[in-house]
């Protein structure tokens, strides 16, 4: 009996150590699994080759369609006519993500009132070389679009140069406007 006590203590210690190590292994494996899953769900942030505007078929590939979408968005944003301002704004909403539409709508009523009150008509002209890819990832693009915006009012008409940055997200194969910023 005197000789059995150390053996039992050793066996008990080994079982405790085994249990602790098993718990540690589970914790380590769980942490690795979380890191791997996070990595799999991360967006692809690797840079892509930008559109080559003017090359054959540039409007057909995904990078070219980002530029086309940005040009359309910038033109639509600055196309407003007091006679059908709601229709013009709906055209802009149709090009945006849900979050863009929400931010657009935050100022839409005031803008519509101003356009209607002053009986304004806005139209935008774009040059062929007036758009450029600033950033292109697998599912996000930033495109610079320059425009000359003509504002016609009962009191007269003036044209002013604009610099815009259009941020686009690729959603279901379509580039949608996530943000549109005027670079003042």
């Amino acid at each position: 009996m005197v000789n059995d006590a150390p053996t039992r203590r050793t066996a008990g210690g080994s079982r405790l150590l085994t249990a602790v190590l098993a718990l540690l292994l589970l914790a380590v494996l769980a942490t690795s699994a979380v890191l791997l899953l996070e990595r799999r769900n991360d967006p692809d942030d690797s840079p892509q080759r930008p559109a080559d505007i003017g090359a054959d078929g540039w409007e057909d590939d995904v990078e070219g369609r980002a530029v086309v979408a940005a040009r359309r968005a910038a033109r639509t944003y600055f196309t407003l006519d007091h006679r059908h301002v709601e229709r013009d704004m709906d055209a802009m909403r149709a090009l945006g993500t849900d979050s863009f539409v929400a931010s657009y709508d935050a100022g839409a009523a005031a803008l519509a009132d101003r356009v209607a009150e002053r009986r304004l008509r806005l139209s935008a002209a774009l040059e062929r070389d007036g758009a450029a890819t600033e950033l292109l990832l697998a599912d996000r693009a930033q495109v610079l679009v320059t425009l000359d915006v003509t504002t016609t009012a009962p009191t007269g008409r003036r044209t002013a140069p604009y610099r815009t940055r259009v941020v686009l997200d690729l959603v279901g194969g379509d580039w949608l406007v996530a943000a549109l910023e005027e670079v003042r």
């Binding site: 190590l21 292994l25 690795s32 840079p47 070389d129 990832l137 610079l144």
Partner: protein, 178 residues
């Protein structure tokens, strides 16, 4: 090694291997924040694949030298700008500099900075010619009529910059204001 100690050793090895994997995954964790160029603060050009990306970086570095100058050292300003240009364009640029910049700079005792606010690739022609679009603010940071610490924006420009690869170096071959 007794039968009771074998599982302990196996588990210990597995824990060590698992820990090494976790540390490796944590150290190579991708940056969750997606950085993108914007117009606030110092402009940083984004990575773009292909010759367009390289040409764009060169254009963003060169344009502030071409559109910025110091009345106290106009020759130095012109020299720095010309170093980023092809010889043919540098000659054209020097004529415009002498005709338009020099008189204004002397009259206003002007020091101007050109600040890039946006930059992108319009198109490439082969792998050695890139057309870029830049948004550039030309700012008078010192000059007659300007109080110390004040600045005045002289222009919010949209410029097309043509850069070409010459002997392995990207050089500005044209700057055109839209």
């Amino acid at each position: 090694m007794g039968p009771l100690r074998r599982p302990v050793v196996v588990l210990l090895v597995l824990v060590l291997l698992g820990s090494a994997l976790t540390v490796a995954l944590a150290l190579t964790r991708p940056d969750v924040a997606r950085s993108a160029p914007d117009s606030r603060g110092g402009y940083e050009v984004a990575d773009l694949l292909g010759p367009g990306g390289d040409g764009l970086e060169a254009a963003v570095a060169a344009v502030p030298l071409a559109l910025g100058y110091d009345h106290a050292d106009l020759a130095g300003s012109l020299r720095a700008a010309s170093a980023t240009m092809t010889p043919a364009y540098a000659a054209r640029f020097a004529r415009v500099f002498g005709r338009e910049v020099r008189p204004f700079a002397r009259e206003r005792e002007a020091v101007t900075e050109a600040r890039v606010r946006g930059a992108g690739v319009v198109r490439t022609r082969g792998g050695e010619d890139v057309v870029c679009l830049l948004y550039v603010d030309q700012v008078l940071v010192s000059g007659r009529g300007l109080a110390a610490g004040e600045s005045e924006v002289l222009g919010r420009n949209r410029v097309l910059v043509d850069v070409v690869l010459t002997d392995g170096v990207w050089k500005v071959d044209d700057i055109r204001v839209l």
